[in-house]
């Protein structure tokens, strides 16, 4: 099959996965809207906290309330689409260590993509809608502003996926690493929702290297408020590097994977 043919086949496969996942989620409509609404309220409560905080301290190292709102818009929006379309990315460690990869390996589709796209997180739909609503409220509505926001969503979502794929791959090498992956997930999420400029020195360096949450948490300043080409270039470069790195690590991990004889229906 030609390269274009293979690509077309993967796209068709992904579209089918998403269609089936959506149909499955909508089977329990009330639960779907309730859970998505819950996430929306959760994020709203965080912004309520920030509004109280900025009421007392109007400017924090150049950050205003609108910047933090955009940080939440880009962070929750990116996390939202990533979880809706590739909802298994936070669960890779659990899938590998419990031997559930068998079923994916037996199917003639790219294993990593198949794993990622086979689940849709319904709560995350609320995160995505939240991101869009906040952008509609305080974002830059010019064409370039919308383009920058869309790029921000894309980069943040890809970063969440890549980091969790890498963290999930530990399971191939150290066995049950659900705990470690869970810690990475919570830490990365937490760090990406606070203004990057509150961190100084070594912590700030770590935020743009070891734990690259800074590439999300600096977006409101470096991409949305004013376009910083150096930051934008680094963000794209790091996202690509982590994405490719994660995929290669997963591929290498598959060679070490021992079957759990867990051939079962996917749920």
């Amino acid at each position: 099959m030609s390269m274009a043919g293979k690509f077309g086949s993967v796209i068709r496969f992904l579209l089918t996965c998403w269609k089936v996942n959506l149909a499955s989620a909508l089977e329990y409509r009330t639960s779907f809207f309730l859970l998505a609404g819950m996430m929306f309220i959760n994020n709203l409560m965080w912004l309520f906290f920030w509004s109280l905080f900025f009421h007392r301290f109007p400017v924090i190292h150049g950050w205003r309330l609108e910047d933090v709102m955009m940080l939440w818009a880009v962070g929750s929006g990116g996390f939202g689409w990533a979880c809706v379309l590739f909802g298994n990315f936070p669960r890779i460690a659990a899938i590998v260590s419990s031997g559930q990869l068998d079923v994916y390996m037996s199917q003639p589709k790219p294993v990593l993509l198949n794993v990622l796209a086979s689940r849709m997180s319904v709560t995350a739909a609320g995160d995505f809608v939240f991101g869009i609503v906040i952008y509609a409220m305080v974002g830059n509505h010019t064409f370039t502003g919308a383009l920058a926001f869309a790029a921000g969503l894309l980069i943040s979502g890809c970063l969440y996926i890549s980091v969790m794929v890498i963290a999930g791959c530990f399971a191939f090498y150290v066995g049950n690493s659900e705990g470690i992956a869970g810690q990475v997930f919570n830490s990365f999420l937490a760090l990406s929702t606070y203004p990057s400029d509150i961190f100084k020195g070594l912590t700030r360096i770590a935020l743009f290297t070891i734990v690259p949450a800074g590439f999300i948490s600096y977006m409101p300043i470096g991409l949305l408020r004013s376009f910083d080409p150096v930051f934008a270039g680094w963000s794209i470069g790091v996202t690509l590097l982590l994405g490719v790195g994660g995929a290669l690590l997963f591929k290498a991990g598959l060679r070490r994977y021992s079957s759990g004889n867990a051939l079962a229906m996917r749920s």
Partner: protein, 272 residues
């Protein structure tokens, strides 16, 4: 010995036994528990950075009656208390869903007392561990917690705080008798504690109108009272705060008992 005194004595003995068993369960998995507490380290580190930056920008040593040291330790106490409470709503929801409640209800021990004893024992154990973990961050950054009588206030008010917290969660958890799924309600309760309960921001730093609203809500008795008293015992009226905690305990206690009484009549357990 008359019958009432005997029943009370037996109830106290049973409650003590449940508390002891819960504590042993916690001690059995202490490594896992400490590992999970690491997230607290990160969150507190982030808070230290955030508040240090805010105080630097303000150029004042005291904001809303709090020094930086007081605010950081305040957050250690509120976080330690918040993370101490076991997931009561999830547990009762699960008991109702899988039918375990049938076994629990047939035991010669009050269902609510069982959960309270288990809750308090686990929460106090976790609270102490979280204080240790939190100190590892706060101490190097802002100095030793030299709060004198504040520690006594923290100890006294924490018992009442965890009791009010249990009762608030119990009201929500017992709704599982009617609706099975209580995650949504639990979630709203948590967020109310985060914000109007003063977990992330002391109530003194909130706008005037919100402070007035918070004064009429039970959430301040859970986190704000113990943490505020610990860092500033001189400015706190311990007796008044204990009185508020007692009043909420009585009010919520009646509510929980009534919800349980009605709910248990409606409960249909299949299997279990």
């Amino acid at each position: 010995m008359n019958g009432t005194a005997f029943r009370w004595k037996a109830a106290v003995r049973k409650t003590g036994a449940v508390a002891q068993i819960t504590l042993r369960q916690q001690l059995a998995y202490k490594a896992d528990f400490v590992f999970r507490s690491l997230f607290l380290l990160l969150i507190l580190f982030v808070f230290v950075q955030l508040w240090s930056t805010a105080y630097d920008g303000e150029g004042s040593e005291v904001v809303g009656g709090f020094t930086l040291k007081q605010i950081v330790w305040y957050l250690v106490f509120t976080e330690a208390l918040t993370m101490a409470g076991p997931p009561l709503c999830a547990r009762i929801e699960e008991e109702v869903k899988n039918g375990d409640i049938a076994v629990r209800l047939t035991r010669p021990f009050s269902y609510l007392a069982y959960h309270y004893a288990s809750y308090l024992s686990e929460a106090l154990f976790r609270f102490v561990i979280h204080l240790g973990v939190g100190s590892a961050i706060a101490w190097p950054f802002v100095g030793a917690p030299s709060f004198g009588f504040g520690w006594l206030g923290l100890a006294v008010l924490s018992i009442g705080a965890l009791t009010v917290d249990f009762l608030l969660k119990a009201v929500v958890a017992l709704c599982a008798f009617w609706v099975e799924e209580v995650r949504g309600l639990d979630f709203v309760l948590q967020k109310l504690q985060f914000t109007v309960g003063g977990m992330l921001l002391p109530i003194d730093l909130m706008p005037e109108w919100l402070q007035r609203v918070c004064a009429w809500l039970p959430f301040q008795a859970v986190l704000y009272f113990p943490a505020r008293t610990a860092v500033n015992s001189e400015g706190a009226n311990l007796a008044a705060q204990l009185g508020v905690q007692l009043a909420w305990t009585a009010l919520l206690g009646v509510l929980v008992t009534e919800v349980y009484r009605r709910g248990v009549k409606k409960l249909h357990v299949n299997g279990g």
